[in-house]
């Protein structure tokens, strides 16, 4: 029982850290093949490893909702496609995300939407991989917000590509191991093309 300053736990930093929402283009997310769980706990977060060497438990995307379909008889859920300058995100919202499902149900396509959601990996019966985003919330936004997101996603993509070439973090090493055939400098080109699609 000491009150020495050194023995005290550091000042508490809030009860928990919310996982940040990563900014990633559809073209990069599509390449993901590896997901893992941190910790043994039932509530431990699951991460999808981006090929550029960063883990993502949650992502933030802004794009055009081009299509949505209602599926299921007893357990209704919605699927949708959100398109960015580089490709397509597949999103879904089911009865476990009632708020997100109602938001999605209300939106008329096409529309610019901002989506906050959790990515996860599936392998289809034919062996093909699918990265799907389970929606936490989706709202209609304007074109300005879409353009801002393209800048934001490009900036974070370039940051990751630059970091990949420098000192490797454990996640970058894992990415090199899991995605031996992917050269992240590809994503620099993708970011450039996405930026170039915005009218000056």
């Amino acid at each position: 029982m000491s009150t020495n300053a050194k023995d005290m736990p550091p000042r508490r930093e809030g009860a928990f850290e919310r996982e940040p929402a990563r900014r990633v283009f559809a073209a990069e997310l599509r390449e993901c093949r590896y997901q893992f769980r941190e910790g043994e706990d039932e509530k431990s977060p699951t991460f999808v490893l981006l090929p550029s060497g960063e883990r993502s438990n949650r992502i933030f995307i802004v794009g055009t909702l081009t299509e949505k379909t209602r599926q299921g008889e007893q357990n209704i859920f919605y699927r949708g496609r959100v398109v960015d300058p580089t490709g397509t995100f597949f999103i879904m919202a089911g009865s476990y995300q009632p708020e997100a499902m109602q938001q999605l149900a209300k939106i008329e396509t096409p529309a610019f939407v901002a989506v906050i959601g959790k990515p996860s990996l599936y392998q289809k019966p034919d062996g093909a991989w699918l990265v799907s985003v389970r929606v936490e919330s989706i709202t209609v936004v304007d074109k300005d917000t879409r353009d801002l997101w393209v800048l934001d996603a490009a900036k974070h993509t370039l940051d990751r590509v630059d970091a990949y070439a420098k000192e490797p973090t454990p996640d970058i090493l894992k990415a090199k191991e899991q995605y031996p055939t992917i050269d992240p400098s590809l994503f620099r080109k993708i970011a450039y093309d996405a930026l170039a699609q915005i009218k000056m």
């Binding site: 850290e17 970011a191 930026l195």
Partner: protein, 417 residues
Amino acid sequence: MDYSEAANRISRKFAQSGQTPDVKKIEGKLKRLVDEFGVQPSEAERSVTSELAKEFNLPVPGAGSAPGGGKGGGTEEKKIAESVPGEWVTIEGKIVALSAPASPSIAQSGIIADDSGAIRFVVWAKSNAPAMTDGSWYRIESAVVDEFKGVANLKVHSGTTIKEITDDRSLIPTPAPIKDLHPGIGNVRAKFIQEWDASHDRMLQSGLLGDETGTIKFVMWKEPGKERLVPGAVYNLFYAQVDEFNGRLSLNLNTATILQEEGEIAVTGGEATITGAIVHIAPGSGIIKRCPVEGCNRALSRQNYCPVHEIQPKFIYDLRIKGWLDDGEKTHNVLVQREVVESLTGISLAQAQEIAENNPLGMDEVFLQMRDKVLGRYITCSGREIDNRLLVNKCEIVKFSSADHTALLNRAGGAPS
């Protein structure tokens, strides 16, 4: 077993400390423990001794390295900062604060300091110790350090010897950075950056102090001679009490020596500006009802229930947004205040009230409308960061910048850096 012999032995131990316990009572207790409860005689003696020690507010005689008491010998002379709860100590220090005793069993309480640090002390009324005066130096022999509410505390009991030190000594406390404070006694040099409403009748003043390293809440209770601090002024605050509650620290200035000074401090800790996207709007955002009791202002439940003042039908409406602002690397908890909510959502308090009272969804409708206007948007929020939450007093919707666009194009098209 000869109970009277054991009882006398125990009684003698306490007689050395100036106490006169009832020998017959001790004998009765011992007999009961041994005969009725089958306790080992040695254990019974130990148990009765420690019970009495508690009663007289004395350390257990003969326990650990404790001396026989009264002589003052055997305890190590220590610097205040080195004394650890559970030890007998001899220290030399200056009385830097005296506070009103909280109970009749306490003769004096306050803070004693040396050049290594400071510690709160309590002089038991039963100790018959000479009264010490504020500002004088004393040698305190064979006092006990214990722990009260997680903070070390020096106890002066009847076995303690107090001698005044008359030779001239000086003591200049050194202020510590706010981020390095820990529960106990602390010295800071800080600026009074924000005054808060007193939340209690007995409270003289409360608010926020800041220095180059951070901010800390302070409180001062009403007491004769206490004066309010002036907002914006810089103070040296010596020997303030640092309390901890729910992992958060605060300063109690009632014991502190407060010296205003002319200097200026650039308070950096706490003031923050963050740009990101709003990724979540939490329940409890939108239009809310607040408790009308003066100084309370707590948010009421749907049934107009205040956790302190119960049902309050004459509530006051307010707007706020609680949510998460995410920059892609870290998510920041934000609390947006009314004026900012109005400018961000374009919905005024009056309009929100009109919706809340007339729309079939009531307050929920305000939440939904605000959510649809804010969620997923890029905004820049400024305000004060306290306990990992940004209290937003200014915010702006981010505008598309062609300069940023061009810079990124160059970066993406250029050679890898």
